[in-house]
């Protein structure tokens, strides 16, 4: 039905089957959209946030997707600037994941603010002292960069590519892509860092506050570092899941291994820095404000010391140890365990830097407030997940996302009707040129 849109040299399931499988995702999407409009029209009273928990599930989701989307800028940096050419086979997917993450982050922010129609005030009345201002500017600019990086992939759709203008536009955009990759890395350094700074500058909240260099608290650097380290793990995890769902090998193991190795070493160095930061904060910073380390992890089982162990040991040390060893990253099961633990680790870090910051009382006569999200918050948080699945599904179906797919999954021409027009030479042509991606 839609054969003309499907990239040459690859096989896709029939359209009705494809749409049927996406049915449940669309249901979640609609549920999220309903909740989103409820929040916009009725206000944030639809949430379970309160005056103690002004930041909650959404801000955590925001910080997390931005960290996980860090795979786009870091893989781009490695591919285009550092020159790790092998990563051309995963960069398209990394950009796609990044695009989904950042568009989701912007959407969540648009729902999260009390006066959505005034959202532009952050640019118009910008306070240069606020980390959030820097986040808004860099985030928006970087989303623009990601759109530019994603666009050539869209233009490579078989039908779109036949239009001469789009064909040349796509080609020319590829030529200048290193410039955008560098711009993306520069912008990402600042907005990832600023997101860390959002918590780190809160000198009224000893749990979050960190010293630093000039105006930048240590969390500024830790957030950038962790996004670069953990983001590629998310890209690998989603690529592996896509392979499972499509029952196809889409990326060669050496590509995974290279990205996993770099990610592992980034993670190992990050987690060392994080341990030093935590130690200094525990023995110097927090006590100077009159609060002992264990005060932050007591009185409330939900925020017990286990959360620190989960973040640093289970979600940091263990995946780093697996990924820096050749055997670890080349064993599929171990690689999968490592990337899943890494994703959990960075998500817990962002959770702690948002939710636990809000929960820990500072005034001696206040207690630990509790918070659980309303269904509207849950639905609007799942909305980007559903949207992401749809975008990956449609991109995979109609765009040459995986340059190695055709080579790894040769089509049996005789038995496949959809590929009957594909000649051997076309198949070779349709190796979904990574240079174009």
């Amino acid at each position: 039905m839609d054969d003309a849109l499907i990239p040459k040299g690859v096989k896709r399931c029939p359209l009705p089957e494809f749409l049927m499988k996406l049915g449940p995702v669309v249901v979640v999407l609609i549920w999220g959209i309903v909740a989103m409009f409820m929040c916009w029209f009725k206000g944030l009273n639809q949430t379970n946030m309160n005056d103690s928990y002004g930041f909650a599930l959404w801000i955590w989701a925001d910080l997390t997707v931005i960290a996980l989307g860090g795979g786009a800028f870091f893989t781009g940096l490695l591919r285009y600037i550092i020159g790790k050419d092998k990563l051309k086979n995963i960069i398209n997917f990394a950009v796609l994941v990044g695009f989904i993450c950042y568009s989701s982050a912007l959407l969540i922010l648009a729902i999260d603010i009390g006066q959505p129609l005034r959202g532009w005030f952050i640019f118009w009345h910008a306070n240069v002292h606020s980390m959030l201002t820097e986040v808004a500017f860099c985030l928006t600019c970087y989303f623009g960069v990601l759109t530019i990086e994603y666009l050539p992939l869209v233009l490579e759709n078989r039908q779109v590519d036949q239009v001469s203008f789009f064909h040349h536009l796509s080609h020319n955009m590829h030529e200048v892509m290193p410039i955008f990759a560098a711009t993306g890395a520069f912008l990402s350094f600042f907005h990832q860092g600023s997101l860390g700074g959002v918590a780190g500058v809160l000198f009224g909240r000893p749990f979050a506050f960190r010293e630093g260099i000039l105006i930048w608290p240590w969390t500024f650097f830790l957030f950038t570092w962790s996004a670069a380290a953990y983001g590629p793990c998310f890209t690998i995890m989603l690529a592996k899941i896509t392979e499972k769902i499509t029952k196809k090998k889409l990326i060669k193991d050496d590509v995974y291994a290279l990205l996993a190795k770099i990610s592992g070493w980034m993670m190992a160095t990050y987690i060392m820095a994080k341990i030093i930061d935590t130690w200094y904060w525990a023995v110097v910073t927090a006590p100077s404000k009159g609060q002992g380390f264990m005060e932050f992890y007591s009185d409330n089982a939900f925020y017990g010391i286990w959360i620190l162990i989960l973040e640093i040991v289970v979600g940091g040390v263990i995946p780093a140890a697996i990924l820096i060893t050749r055997k670890g990253r080349s064993t599929p099961a171990l690689l999968m365990i490592a990337v899943v633990l890494a994703v959990i680790g960075v998500s817990v870090n962002r959770w702690v830097m948002v939710l636990q910051v809000m929960a820990v009382p500072v005034l001696t006569f206040e207690g630990w407030p509790m918070y659980y999200p309303s269904w509207q918050e849950v639905a609007t948080t799942l909305l980007p997940v559903a949207y992401g699945i749809l975008l990956v599904a449609f991109s995979y179906r109609y765009l040459p996302v995986f340059p190695q797919e055709a080579e790894l999954n040769p089509i049996d021409l005789e038995s496949d009707e959809t590929a009957e027009s594909v000649t051997a030479s076309e198949t070779a042509d349709a190796k979904l040129s990574p240079a174009k991606a």
């Binding site: 005056d51 002004g54 603010i113 009224g204 009159g290 609060q291």
Partner: protein, 267 residues
């Protein structure tokens, strides 16, 4: 504005006098058109610019002791006006005035990101989760000098800034540039039946607050009066609300201390 010396308006609350009657809270709500819900049982989303907390010394009878502590916005100066909330607001919707020392909130500019609430360790900032709805007829009793706030923005104690504006207008019309101490007083100060709240200019030696607190300019306004303290002094928020208490445990409750530290550490 020549000949005008910068003011630093502040407040001192004598906790030995405070009975916890809540008159300050009521006066504040009426004066500032603070909205309320039909059901106010959930205090986590109630708006109380001035809130009275009850403290206990944790001891059993007969040594048990309680203390009420009214908590308005602290109007923190931080370092050079970088109060915790002002420095983080991305839209410059809250500002520290170097002329008055008052932390303002511009309701029509706030877009409701709530970063300032996350930054404030005193929980003195409140979000309008709902549009204000007044019982029938009550609109007639709203204060015309204070704009009600819309859903989706943050609000907080303003030290009754509209009273300052009115007092200044009156002074200007009379050819004066300076206010007398009694010309600008907050609603909570005037409502307190025990006279526990004293409001004035911390920079003006003639004002009672200056005489009571005796702020030390060399140490960012720390009180020289040994009975006086500020909440969470150790964080460096540099608040302009002071408290007085003759009781050691009350002063200690004003800040966090490690088990081996004495309460004097932060002062």
């Amino acid at each position: 504005m020549k000949n005008e010396q910068a003011k630093k308006y502040g407040m001192v609350i004598d906790l030995d006098k405070c009975t916890g009657c809540g008159a300050c809270m009521v006066a504040c709500m009426a004066e500032n058109n603070v909205p309320f819900k039909k059901d106010e049982t959930n205090k986590l989303d109630s708006i109380t610019w001035m809130r009275v907390f009850q403290l206990t010394n944790g001891k059993s009878f007969p040594e048990t002791d309680i203390c009420y502590i009214p908590r308005p916005c602290m109007h923190c100066e931080g370092e050079h006006g970088h109060s915790p909330c002002v420095s983080v607001c991305p839209a410059t919707a809250t500002d520290y005035s170097q002329q008055t020392g008052i932390v303002s909130q511009i309701y029509t500019r706030c877009f409701g990101c709530r970063y300032c609430m996350a930054a404030c360790p005193y929980h003195a900032r409140y979000f309008n989760w709902w549009d204000p709805v007044w019982p029938n007829g009550m609109e007639k009793y709203l204060n015309p000098n204070v704009s009600p706030r819309m859903r989706g923005v943050v609000e907080k104690c303003s030290f009754c800034f509209h009273r300052y504006q009115r007092a200044m207008e009156k002074a200007f019309l009379e050819g004066r540039r300076e206010l007398e101490e009694e010309e600008y007083q907050t609603a909570c100060t005037q409502a307190c039946p025990a006279g526990a709240i004293v409001f004035g200019d911390l920079n003006n030696e003639k004002h009672k607050i200056h005489q009571i607190v005796n702020p030390d300019p060399a140490h960012r306004g720390r009180p020289k009066n040994p009975k006086a303290f500020r909440l969470l002094e150790r964080l460096g928020t540099n608040p302009k609300v002071y408290y007085l208490s003759s009781r050691e445990w009350v002063r200690r409750a004003g800040d966090n201390y490690l088990p081996h530290e004495g309460s004097g550490k932060g002062h």
